[in-house]
């Protein structure tokens, strides 16, 4: 009797579990579809012949597919140049933030020096004054420097990162001091210790920081749109924002343009997704 009772209850619980699981999968799938639907529609539209874009009901598949919108988009805007500008800016800002962040993080973790706490708080407090606050006066400063509409101007606020300093310090401070002492006894100079001994040990943190800073720089919009006037200096987000012709909106080429701008990054992300998600989840970081 008791046995049957237990069996019944487990069967019942399994029933709940199965319907519960189905419900969970249903909800997750529904939201998942909502997450990628805009990208799906962007790609479908970019290959759809113009007549199909204004028909009702909507055509869910390009029939027949055409590359016409891509030809028009490339004719209208120099995407290769936008990519080059975005890559150049990301490369400089990421490597400079990592390099200076590594040394500053090491200094805050290993040394004891006067005003250490003050400087550390000062660097962290810049997080409280984001570019949205300082953009106006930074623009005026750039005007004094003659850096408006230059790469130097775009890069100016991004040569160093408070996050990089903070995470380098947190990582290095948890490392054994003996290691550094041993290297010193062996006669290694401080700069060589940072470059030859510390940096290989923190390379996974460096990789995570680099990735996050790269995404950050790649998608940055407010400061570039303020400081850039010339078409040839435009980054991808600025180029895309001004691609749209306000008087004659043609969605085919527009979706081809956004596909060109987003798909390479999304494909790279799909290969690195475990690493990207883990990096952002553990540092709690962004942008």
């Amino acid at each position: 009797m008791g046995g049957i009772g237990i069996m019944k209850s487990t069967l019942f619980q399994q029933g709940i579990k199965i319907t519960g699981n189905t419900f969970v999968y249903f909800l997750l799938t529904l939201f998942g579809i909502l997450m990628i639907l805009p990208f799906y529609w962007m790609i479908v539209t970019s290959f759809q012949i113009p007549e199909n874009l204004i028909t009702f009901p909507p055509k869910w598949w390009p029939q027949p597919p055409t590359a016409e919108h891509y030809r028009n988009a490339i004719k209208k805007a120099p995407f290769l140049l936008y990519y080059r500008n975005s890559l150049f800016i990301a490369a400089i800002s990421v490597s400079s933030s990592i390099f200076f962040g590594l040394f500053a993080g090491y200094a805050f973790a290993v040394y004891h020096f006067p005003l250490q706490g003050f400087f550390f708080i000062l660097i962290l407090s810049t997080l409280m004054v984001p570019i949205q606050v300082t953009s106006v006066s930074l623009y005026i400063l750039m005007a004094r420097f003659g850096w408006i509409d230059t790469f130097a101007g775009i890069l100016a606020p991004n040569f160093a990162s408070a996050f990089a300093v903070f995470f380098m310090r947190q990582t290095i401070i948890s490392m054994p001091v003996d290691l550094i002492d041993a290297a010193r006894i062996d006669g290694a100079g401080e700069i060589r210790i940072v470059i030859n001994i510390i940096s290989p040990l923190v390379k996974s943190v460096i990789a995570t920081m680099a990735l996050i800073l790269f995404i950050d720089s790649w998608n940055d919009f407010l400061w570039p749109v303020i400081i850039i006037n010339s078409k040839y200096l435009r980054t991808i987000p600025v180029g895309i924002a001004f691609f749209k012709d306000p008087y004659h909106i043609n969605f085919g080429p527009l979706m081809a343009a956004t596909s060109i701008a987003t798909m390479p990054m999304i494909i790279i992300y799909l290969f690195l997704q475990r690493f990207v998600i883990k990096g952002i989840a553990t540092t709690g970081l962004k942008f």
């Binding site: 699981n21 909800l27 997750l28 909502l34 997450m35 990628i36 639907l37 805009p38 990208f39 529609w41 874009l53 204004i54 009901p57 200076f100 040394f103 200094a107 040394y111 004891h112 020096f113 006067p114 400087f119 660097i123 409280m128 004054v129 949205q132 606050v133 300082t134 106006v136 006066s137 930074l138 623009y139 400063l141 005007a143 100016a156 606020p157 040569f159 160093a160 401080e190 700069i191 790649w218 998608n219 919009f221 407010l222 303020i226 991808i236 600025v238 924002a241 749209k244 909106i249 969605f251 527009l254 979706m255 999304i266 997704q273 990207v276 998600i277 952002i280 989840a281 709690g284 962004k286």
Partner: protein, 298 residues
Amino acid sequence: MQMIDGFLFKAKKNRWHYAYLFIAPVLIFFGLFRVYPAVETLIFSFFKVEIVARRYQWVGLKNFSLLLRDDSFIRAISNTFVYAIYIVTISAFLGLILAAMFNSNMKLGSLFKAVYFVPFITSTVAAAVVWGYLYDPKFGLFNMILKLLNLPQRGWISSYKDALGSIIVFSIWKTLGYNMIIFITGLQNIPETYYEAAVIDGAGPLTRFFRITIPLISPTIFFVVIYNTILSLKVFDQVFVLTAGGPAEASTVVVLQIYNQAFLNYRFGYASSMAFVLFFMIMIITILQYSLSRKWAV
């Protein structure tokens, strides 16, 4: 012994110059491009700034008194608050619900995670351009779907009533994946034994969720709320792309007002006073975060 101590002390002292050398580049960059402009933002908010003529005229509190009577700015402040409230409640709450579903070891877990995260890593500008097309009243997918379902169509971003709501829906889509990932990490840190003990004591799934999950994850909830609030105060890209603050300022936000006043109307002093108000709001949230997170020791 004393000699060794003295030697060590000297050695430590001798490394001061390395310490300053190593932090100097960061301090110079930050001092010049972050701290100095931050201080100038405060100063300029008391001036009328003419950038080409390089003329700075002291106007006292005039910029701030103008702010109080600037309907567009007041609209921007209230829109930004409405936006923040919706993002924090809906995006953070949905993120927690979805994360709670994930926590059981599910088969397609990593696929779902990857999919939910795609909007977050995509450029806000490019994604907003795509959504601008989806929201198009005539050719957009959303109205086509409504028409297929025989539901009344909407004006979305081109209507005074829907504009801000449309931007909020876009931003929830954009940030949901991030909030979910942070919650998943938080949930994974809760020891499995707590749940096992609760099951033995006869606690159902809902009781477990409200009595174990919620209390133990509150530091994470707190972080997500603060993070989303500050992100909301800084919102700009999607508003610039989708509505440019329109129609008739219906969806304008604080950063867009700063941008328009400085770079369209060339009122740099006035824009600085707006930036100072924004800084003040961010500072209050940050102080709140600092004092409360010490209490929770996160």
